[in-house]
């Protein structure tokens, strides 16, 4: 009996290749390509008066210098608004190369193509751009004031605005014995993958076709938009995603201006052109996330049960809105979290500023939602003098599926389809030692130490549609080739998808070979984002494998003269159930599945025309059938499945220096049945690491002129391994009813509540309300001083109704 691979801690099969330097990233596949470099705006807000490129033209090795005027046809139109949404009132996107105006420091204006990148940068340095300066709009406060306007022709800076409601929040708040208000802030950060963006575009003049390698999260999406922008037949454009050195959301936006400009140049110059983003470019011209200003008003009863929740938030979306409002929309639809909120209203404004655009970063708006809800839960507990876990328990959703009453990012109604929050909380308290903490705090205090315990719960809609596909082919050797259209950037797809397929086909894992992100093989796909890879492609491949198996058993049934229903596949052999004596290899079925004229090898003889004893008076391929043991299938869910989890953190704050250390970090995580617990834990650990960054280190320090002051790894601080605590995990596996495998997404889970759990712990240690993250020692030290002068309550009661 073959052991089921689903659920096994199988080590990542891709690691030996990647860890021994055999990974192949975009820059590695560029061969003899010529290189592009970009002249970028040094100003946050300006009109372009003149561009003088003459200084660049006489540099030996310069091949072309392009400004907006050189972009052909559709490529000169604005970049697409990828995800239209009813809340968007003023959709503005940029151009591949700036036209007349620049709206953030880093916006590309001129593309220089040269023999190599060194020369291209030399030439770019010789190009003079004349500007007429305008005042920059930086930060939420300045943007919502509206005295300075980012985009000409607008009266304010509002890109999107919407009110969403569940029940009647006004009467909910009116009826509440207690009402609290919280003002909250969340800082900007960014994905910062180790490999930045990159593109290699190759034009074949004979075929009139374009082949693009890109470090993207959606090869199909990029293919479609490049075909449209270059006005090429879709069949003449292919996009291949090789190994990708991390993405975390930033590579889902497409096309990036550089992807489009470089593709146009490859066609115009009839050659191969590459652009590899450097770190400074990544800081100032890719995407950021997370800046929001938030206001929460909550009404609750004596028991801490929430009766009404009214939320307003202002989201800084940067200069343009190519990826729509996914980030604020996710924030708005995740605020209620794992709780029953009888009445809820959320209103958001997504605002233009003269800063880098904002697109999803791991968590994609959900971390902001958790910050609002969980800071509120702690404030309620403080107000009523209740244990923080008790307040949460009293508000948890207990019946599933639980309708959320809101339309999610996939366009479907949101439901919490599965989970057991009470059980998760019990496990978290056990893991972290919640009930013993006060004695620990006392002991620490006696040693002159200050410690705090924090908590944050979250839900996450994962595995959004519309669909994902699988393609499986069994070669005559028994080798199983697996394709899915979505891309891979660290998710262990070569391992987990192989586990799913090997289980269904009854073949050894080593026989299964997974490829992703290549439009030449599977041109229907959406992409890898939103914790959807395992849910969507995993289920698609599960369904595809079932089809392959069905076909294999049918063919084998004819050979073995058995009913396919009585057959099983064990270790690559198809046999009558319980009777290994009547069997044939899956490889042999593959041979038989493809009737041959020519016997290319010994095994192929079995499929040739004289292999059978007598002539069959029917076609070799019957109606409705296809040659080969090869199938394609798609999975499309009704709605997103909602994963959940709870984090607890113990921090120590130095009474004198205000240095903040994380002593312990505990995670209870429910993503349904785990395909590979090792991979899930890796995702959680990595997610927490990025969450720690958002909690204690990362911010985008813009000055009032819109200059990013920390656009390098020297001053933008991401946690090192030495700053990331050991992450202790425990898993609950409540299956989702929304897909055949019952799985829920896990990719973003670790990041979403981390900053909030740490905020909760710092508040617990310091007894100072924490309303803004990230928090550094200097800021905390100043907060201590100002708090000493102010009040000591952890909440602000504005209208105690009793």
């Amino acid at each position: 009996m073959t052991t089921r691979l689903f659920g096994q801690k199988i080590t990542r099969r891709e690691d030996p290749r990647l860890l021994t330097g055999h990974g192949r990233y975009v820059d590695d596949v560029s061969g003899t390509a010529i290189a592009a470099a970009f002249v970028r705006s040094p100003h946050a807000h300006a009109d372009i008066l003149d561009i003088d490129v003459t200084g660049a033209l006489d540099i030996d090795g310069v091949i072309a210098v392009w400004t907006y005027e050189d972009l052909p046809g559709q490529a000169a139109e604005r970049l697409p608004m990828l995800i239209p949404h009813p809340s968007i009132v003023a959709p503005h996107t940029g151009y591949a190369l700036a036209k007349d105006h620049v709206n953030f420091v880093g916006e590309p204006i001129v593309m220089v193509i040269a023999k190599d990148r060194y020369i291209a940068e030399d030439a770019a340095n010789r190009i003079d751009v004349d500007y007429s300066f305008k005042e920059a709009v930086v930060g939420v406060e300045q943007s919502r004031e509206g005295t300075r306007i980012v985009h000409e022709g607008m009266d304010d800076n509002v890109a999107a605005h919407i009110v969403q409601k569940v029940g009647d929040v006004d009467s909910g708040l009116d009826s509440a014995p207690y009402v609290l208000e919280l003002d909250l802030e969340f800082e900007r950060s960014a994905c910062m993958p180790m490999e930045g963006k990159g593109v290699v575009a190759s034009w074949d003049p004979g075929e009139g076709s374009l082949e693009v390698h890109s470090s993207t999260q959606t090869s199909t999406g990029l293919r479609a938009v490049l075909a449209a922008k270059l006005e090429l037949p879709l069949t003449k454009v292919e996009v291949i995603t090789p190994d990708v050195g991390g993405a975390f959301g930033v590579k889902i936006n497409h096309p990036w201006p550089e992807e489009l400009a470089v593709a146009c140049a490859a066609r115009a110059l009839e050659t191969t052109v590459k652009w590899t983003e450097d770190r400074r470019e990544h800081f100032i011209s890719s995407a950021h996330e997370r800046a929001q200003t938030q206001w929460v008003k909550v009404g609750f009863d004596d028991e801490g049960r929430i009766l009404g929740l009214d939320v307003k938030f202002w989201h800084d979306n940067g200069a343009y809105l190519p990826y729509g409002v996914i980030v604020p929309l996710n924030t708005s639809t995740h605020i209620m979290g794992p709780y029953v909120i009888p009445s809820f209203r959320v209103e958001y404004w997504s605002l233009y500023t003269n800063t880098v655009i904002v697109t999803p970063y791991r968590g994609a708006g959900r971390a902001h939602a958790v910050f609002m809800m969980e800071r509120t839960m702690d404030a309620i507990a403080a107000e009523l003098g209740l244990d923080r876990t008790e307040v949460r328990l009293r508000n948890f959703v207990r019946d599933f599926p639980h309708p959320m009453g809101l339309r999610m990012q996939d366009g479907a109604e949101g439901y919490i389809d599965s989970g057991d929050f009470v059980a998760s909380m019990a496990r978290l308290k056990e893991l972290v030692g919640w009930d013993d903490f006060e004695s620990y705090r006392e002991q620490a205090r006696s040693e002159g130490r200050r410690v705090g315990l924090g908590i944050a719960c979250y839900i996450e809609s994962t595995g959004a549609g519309p669909y994902e596909g699988g393609h499986i082919e069994v070669e005559t050797s028994g080798r199983v080739n697996v394709w899915t259209g979505l891309t891979t950037h660290g998710q262990a797809h070569a391992t987990v998808f192989a586990q799913i397929v090997a289980d269904e086909l009854g073949v050894p894992l080593d026989n299964v070979h997974v490829s992703t992100g290549d439009t030449r093989k599977l041109s229907y796909s959406v992409g890898t984002w939103g914790s959807r890879g395992a849910v969507m492609a995993g289920n698609a491949l599960h369904l595809t494998a079932k089809k392959v198996k069905e076909k294999a058993l049918k063919i084998a049934g004819e050979s073995l003269e058995a009913d396919p229903q009585d057959l099983e596949i064990v270790d690559g052999m198809i046999q009558v159930q319980g009777d290994p004596s009547s069997s044939m290899p899956l490889a042999a079925v593959s041979v038989l599945s493809n009737p041959l004229r020519y016997a290319f090898d010994e095994s192929a003889r079995a499929a040739t025309q004289f292999a059978k004893e007598s002539a069959a008076d029917e076609p070799s391929i019957k109606g409705g059938e296809q040659p080969g043991l090869e199938e394609q299938e798609f999975f499309s869910p009704v709605r997103s499945t909602v994963a959940n989890g709870m984090h607890a953190a113990i921090v120590e704050t130095d009474p004198e220096t205000a240095d903040i250390k994380i002593l312990r970090y505990c995670v209870i995580h429910d993503c349904g049945p785990m395909v590979n617990p090792l991979v899930v834990e890796g995702q959680v650990h990595g997610g927490v690491a990025q969450g720690v960054g958002g909690a204690l280190y990362e911010k985008m320090a813009y000055d009032t002129d819109g200059q990013l002051l920390n656009a390098s790894f020297m001053d933008f601080l991401m946690p090192f391994a030495s700053e990331v605590p050991h992450v202790e995990t425990d898993h609950l596996e409540t299956p989702s009813p929304l897909n055949p495998l019952g799985i829920k997404g896990a990719g973003e889970a670790g990041t979403i509540p981390a900053a909030t759990a740490i905020a909760s712990a710092i508040e617990d240690a310091e007894r100072i309300p924490i309303r803004s993250m990230p928090l550094d020692p200097s800021t905390l030290w100043h907060m201590r001083t100002s708090h000493r002068e102010g009040d000591n309550s952890l909440s602000r009661v504005t209208s105690p109704n009793h």
Binding site: R280, Y440, Q443, D654, L663, R664, S722, S778
Partner: protein, 334 residues
């Protein structure tokens, strides 16, 4: 992030190096470890026409402790890496302050390439080693076609990122005096992350005779423009080492009064001033503990916890015994 065109010269002797420096004195730059220079080149913040790579020059790799007992000197040649200095047992014995401070210089990967003399020439007020040179009363030997001169730290450092070196001059080696018998030395800083520039850092030498403090000198990183030494001998002299608690506040006040920190995106000036005082206070108490008679940095850290974990808060995160609260398997379990 590519440097503009430049020529690289690879001399093999000091003479050749000095010739090249003389020839390219207008726009030449010495390249040793490159840990500060190369990023500056790639970001096009500097554009020297000629780089003179000294890593192949013979006679610059000296790393010795010499001289009679009590007057020993540590000589560190221009191509000696931070890591070599940090890991030298002889140096740790002669003056443990060097290794103690070096563990806060970036990360091992950087220390494997970066040179101690390169740090002195770079003269970054955030850098640990210029301060250590000043605090220990060290000097540098400087050569050019025009001659040889020896400069004290005070003479060398004229401003932030600015030395008195002429463009044709090369620091061939640095000399750090050994720590005198009876003196105790320590270094500490708090950085945002392990290996980052300290928000504030303090180096300290306490002279003790017969259980009585006879001298106290402090140097600072990130809170002064140049590595000046604050001599607090008058404040503390005559205090019994088990009674220093009574003078700590005067030490802290003097430190906060002496320094002149600036604010930036990582910390305000006020915080840095406060922090420098806290670090000085903790360091002074630590060095005066009676069980600290022979210098605690004497053991050489060669492996393991190398990252430099900021201030010693006296509260080791992993060592609590809180009834299952602290996970005593800690990171080892990972």
């Amino acid at each position: 992030m590519k440097p503009p065109p430049l020529r690289i010269h690879r001399p093999t002797s000091i003479d050749q190096t000095l010739d090249l420096l003389s020839e390219h004195s207008v726009s030449g730059k010495v390249l040793a470890g490159g840990q500060s220079l190369v990023p500056v080149l790639n970001m096009r913040l500097a554009a020297p026409s000629d780089l003179i790579d000294i890593t192949g020059v013979s006679g610059l790799d000296e790393l010795t402790v010499s001289g009679p007992e009590g007057q020993q000197e540590i000589a560190v040649g221009a191509t000696v890496t931070h890591r070599q200095v940090e890991r030298s047992v002889d140096i740790a014995r002669a003056n443990p302050l060097l290794a103690e401070a070096l563990r806060f210089v970036a990360h091992p990967a950087v220390r494997n390439r970066g040179t101690t003399v390169g740090s002195l020439a770079h003269a970054d007020p955030n850098g640990e080693m210029p301060m250590i040179l000043a605090l220990t009363g060290g000097s540098v030997d400087v050569r050019s076609r025009r001659g040889i001169r020896t400069l004290s730290a005070e003479e060398l450092n004229v401003g932030p990122l600015e030395t008195c070196l002429e463009s044709d001059e090369l620091i061939t080696r640095a000399i750090f005096p050994a720590l005198p018998a009876g003196s105790r030395a320590g270094f500490d800083e708090l950085a945002r992350r392990s290996g980052d520039y300290g928000l504030a850092g303090v180096g300290m030498i306490v002279d003790v005779e017969d259980e009585t403090v006879t001298g106290l000198r402090c140097g600072f990183i990130s809170v002064t423009d140049i590595p000046e030494v604050l001599d607090l001998g008058e404040v503390v002299s005559g205090t019994q080492i088990d009674e220093v608690a009574g003078v700590v506040s005067r030490v802290v006040d003097a430190v906060r009064d002496f320094i002149d920190p600036g604010g930036d995106i990582h910390a305000t000036a006020d915080y840095r001033r406060h922090l420098a005082g806290v670090i000085a206070s903790r360091l002074f108490r630590r060095l005066c503990r009676t069980d600290n008679a022979r210098i605690q940095g004497a053991q050489v850290h060669t492996a393991g916890n190398d990252a430099g974990n900021g201030t010693d808060t006296g509260a080791d995160a992993g060592s609590g015994t809180g009834k299952g609260i602290e996970n005593d398997t800690g990171r080892r379990r990972a």
